[in-house]
Amino acid sequence: MSSRRSGGTPRITDEQIIELISKLQQLLPELRNRRSNKASASKVLQETCNYVRSLHKEVDDLSDRLSQLLSTIDDNSPQASIIRSLID
């Protein structure tokens, strides 16, 4: 789905918006299990905001843990060589 499409048509149809929102709904872990598309647009938007916030928080937490782990890692350990081999 290309965003260029919105520039070509004179007007965004409701169908396109519904299709897009249902695609978004598939990505959200909260709403994915509902088989129908009964989730309203505002609910989907709300869940999207919550999900993005939780992802940001996870990135923060994981960065903290990574910084702790990196400071304690020994350069000659097997993990370090695995990580180094990933770069090649």
Partner: protein, 178 residues
């Protein structure tokens, strides 16, 4: 949607791999100059790792998406004022600036050719209040988009963020394995 337009979206593993390579490279360059491990440095190092993660993911997506351009732009401007990432600045500069200006120019001309009076003349209250406004603040670069583009951009952003989190989790697991 042709495969040539958005290859990484068709292949999530590919996206994760590309992100992992760039991120691990950045981690290595952050980790190598070994300074004495003060506790204050932990906080700064964590912040650098976070920036490196967002930078790596946005670099993989490149200039294809507004959010990735906005992220790279923000990081570049921040690094310019704070003097971080001196080594990467030149490389990021040339590619991002040319792509950003080209894309920005193209997007503007498309808007002028096909004006949509319904969307642009009338004040749309949902844009400035409610859930949509909150989403605009969360997705980088999405402040002035119309609703359709906002949802489209948010979809891609969530995809890439989720992939980023998965790779980072895998790395943490790898490092904590005894």
């Amino acid at each position: 949607m042709s495969p040539s337009q958005q290859p990484t979206e068709k292949n999530p593993t590919n996206l994760k791999n590309q992100f992992a390579r760039r991120f691990v490279r950045a981690l290595n360059s952050l980790h190598n100059p070994k300074k004495s491990a003060h506790d204050n440095q932990m906080h700064r190092r964590s912040r650098r790792i976070k920036i490196a993660a967002y930078n790596a993911m946005a670099s993989v997506v490149g200039s294809r998406r507004t959010w990735s351009r906005a992220v790279l732009w923000k990081i570049r401007n921040r690094s310019r004022t704070q003097g971080l990432f001196r080594n990467n600045r030149k490389r990021v500069d040339h590619q991002i600036v040319t792509n950003y200006h080209h894309r920005h120019h193209v997007k503007l001309s498309i808007k002028r050719r096909n004006p949509n009076p319904k969307r642009e003349v009338y004040f749309d209250p949902s844009r400035y209040s409610g859930q949509e406004a909150k989403l605009r603040k969360l997705v980088p670069g999405a402040e002035n988009m119309d609703s359709w583009c906002l949802v489209d951009e948010a979809t891609d952003y969530i995809n890439c963020l989720a992939a980023q989190v998965e790779v980072m989790k895998t790395l943490v697991d790898l490092y904590t394995a005894t």
